[in-house]
């Protein structure tokens, strides 16, 4: 094996330098503030969890997990998402707290390395989980909070697609019956392979009417009228329930004034079996990857012995920052150069400017080798050098 160069990082890992750090911090701060104002308090959980608990119940595919062994031989994972750790906390340390629980997080997540740029193996995600409220109001609340958070970060041009896995399952069950057959069709939707879906539908032993109903699922997207269209395809028990649920969600989002941002997309299948109801994704117009996603997962907490319906979302900070485009401009900074005999004066001036909220860098001239190079990097330079008393002139 060749030794890495000294500047190399493991595949998929990134450094965050000051300018980008500031941009990220500003975006995450404004979003976190929004989440706290909505009553979602942040929690932290460890980066390492047991594979058997958190790893296994996460929505992330097994081959995307970073795994390691602890000294007792247990398999550990670097957390690939925050939903499973929060479910663990909600069912253990917070088990006596009354539901619904509102929690938020801002954490670095890990997904196994991919041999291509644009897919970091470690990235920051910000999100909320609303545990213990089964209503459409809860789904509307998290979707609205996601939209408000994106706006707070400075993103105005975005779209949200909303689907419902309950509707997809009800339609597939109604026509093809058997779960294995439904799973096969669901896999085509999950893989976004509409051609495969259509070809498979042609081979099914179903009537031409049913074949058409299946194919119409691929076109079920658009505004609120999509729901009426969906009802004409299947409107029995669970499908009707799912559509009523989406109608209630739409009404609630209307009250939040968010209907301009949303489209329905009833063939949206983001995961094979993790979500149980409403699912949604957020997109910016300038980035080719989704910025955020979320949905209802009513069966996850059961695995942690505290059955409770839950819904939540996560925003990818790395992608959001890319979608926002420009990094933040550096603030104006003042450099105060001093020699030790005039240190006191320099400190007083620095304290005065810092008190006004300005950024001030204090530098002993004896400690800076390249003075010209240093001063060139600052908008303002003050000097307190030598024996002469009197105020240093601020060079504007």
């Amino acid at each position: 094996m060749t030794e890495p160069f000294m500047f190399e990082k493991p595949l998929g890992m990134r450094d965050t330098l000051p300018v980008l750090y500031e941009t990220k911090r500003e975006a995450t701060n404004s979003m976190q503030q929004m989440m706290e104002r909505w009553g979602y308090y942040p929690i932290e959980t460890p980066a390492l969890e047991y594979y058997d608990t958190v790893g296994d119940s996460s929505a992330i595919l097994d081959q995307q997990l970073f795994k390691l062994l602890d000294q007792q031989g247990h398999t550990l994972v670097l957390r690939p998402d925050m939903t499973a750790p929060i479910a663990r906390v909600a069912s253990s340390s917070l088990k006596d707290q009354p539901l619904p629980l509102r929690l938020s997080y801002c954490a670095n997540l890990f997904r196994a390395q991919q041999h291509e740029g644009g897919r970091p193996a470690e990235f920051e995600q910000l999100g909320v989980e609303l545990v213990g409220d089964p209503t459409a109001s809860a789904d509307a609340e998290v979707i609205a909070l996601m939209a408000e958070s994106l706006k707070a970060a400075g993103l105005t041009d975005f779209k949200l697609a909303i689907g419902h896995i309950g509707y997809v399952n009800a339609l597939l069950a109604d026509i093809v019956g058997k779960e294995e057959r439904a799973a096969q069709l669901r896999r085509y939707l999950y893989e976004k392979n509409f051609v495969g879906f259509k070809q498979h539908v042609k081979t099914l032993p179903v009537s031409s009417v049913d074949r058409d109903r299946l194919l119409r699922l691929l076109k079920l997207r658009g505004g609120i009228e999509t729901l009426d269209e969906a009802r004409t395809i299947v409107n029995n028990g669970r499908a009707a329930e799912a559509l009523d649920n989406l109608q209630a969600l739409y009404d609630a989002l209307e009250a939040y004034d968010l209907t301009d941002y949303i489209t329905f997309d009833l063939n949206l299948v983001m995961h094979m079996d993790y979500y149980t109801g409403v699912v949604f994704e957020g997109y910016g117009s300038t980035l080719g990857f989704p910025l955020s996603s979320g949905g209802r997962y009513d069966e996850l907490l059961e695995k942690f012995d505290r059955p409770a319906q839950a819904t939540g979302f996560g925003i990818r900070v790395d992608r959001l920052v890319e979608a926002l485009g420009a990094t933040k401009a550096k603030p104006e900074e003042t450099l105060i150069l001093f020699s030790s005999e005039r240190r006191k004066e320099a400190l007083t001036e620095a304290a005065k400017l810092r008190g006004r909220g300005e950024v001030v860098v204090l530098q002993d001239v004896a400690g800076a080798a390249d003075l010209d190079g240093l001063t060139a990097a600052y908008q303002h330079v003050l000097s307190y050098i030598g024996q002469t008393q009197g105020e240093g002139a601020r060079d504007e």
């Binding site: 392979n193 509409f194 080719g288 990857f289």
Partner: protein, 212 residues
């Protein structure tokens, strides 16, 4: 006026067929379009921008969102598994992936080797057949592998079978039928939904009118 669409087109033989489809679908494409030395061609009347890429790279451009739409062979889609919508079978550039070998050649009993430009697809196929093989990736002239003894079988694209015959190889199994597909970036699919939906509808009526 709907938003401009950026379309990644494959260079080479698929290009002409795909361009013809677009014209049949009623898109007015500029004359410069057929000058394949140009990498980027604007088509203001159709409100589109095209760029020409190596066919195997088209799904990459689309997945990363620098192109909203692309035309890609199913062979590339199977090998690369990019996260894009595969919305329409364009039914052009039909061919298939096949296993071929020298006539009468039986797989080595020590280490059966298969050479292919599509190592993942080949490995998956033999796994599904319950057969253990070692796959060797080649970038071109796959027919050479059994002739010089690098592998006893190959998995390669067959359109007429001419190349196989010329090299004295025989096709033993068909792996999968291949045509070109219209693929869409998942974000564009939502953000530029109207323009994309319209394009898919127009192309579908051309393609499906032909097929049935």
């Amino acid at each position: 006026m709907s938003e401009q669409l950026t379309i990644a087109m494959p260079k080479g033989r698929i290009f002409d067929e795909a361009a013809e489809l677009l014209r049949q679908a009623g898109y007015r494409l500029p004359d410069a379009f057929d000058d394949s030395r140009k990498l980027i061609v604007e088509a203001p009347e159709a409100n589109m921008k095209f760029f020409l890429a190596k066919p195997t790279d088209v799904p990459t451009y689309v997945e990363h969102g620098v192109a909203d739409i692309g035309v890609a062979g199913k062979d590339v889609m199977l090998e690369d598994e990019r996260d894009v919508y595969e919305v329409l079978d364009l039914n052009i550039s039909a061919c298939y992936l096949a296993v071929a070998s020298l006539p009468g050649q039986t797989p080595s009993t020590i280490a059966p080797k298969v050479a292919s430009k599509y190592p993942k697809t080949a490995a998956k196929y033999f796994k599904e057949q319950g057969e253990q093989v070692e796959v060797i990736k080649l970038n071109g002239s796959i027919e050479l592998a059994p002739l010089v003894g690098l592998a006893d079988r190959i998995v390669d694209i067959v359109s007429t079978g001419g190349t196989l015959r010329e090299n004295g190889l025989v096709e033993t199994e068909e792996v999968v039928h291949i045509t070109s597909r219209l693929i869409v970036n998942p974000v564009s699919y939502r953000v530029k939904d109207e323009a994309i939906e319209e394009m898919v509808e127009r192309l579908a009526s051309v393609v499906e009118g032909d097929a049935e």
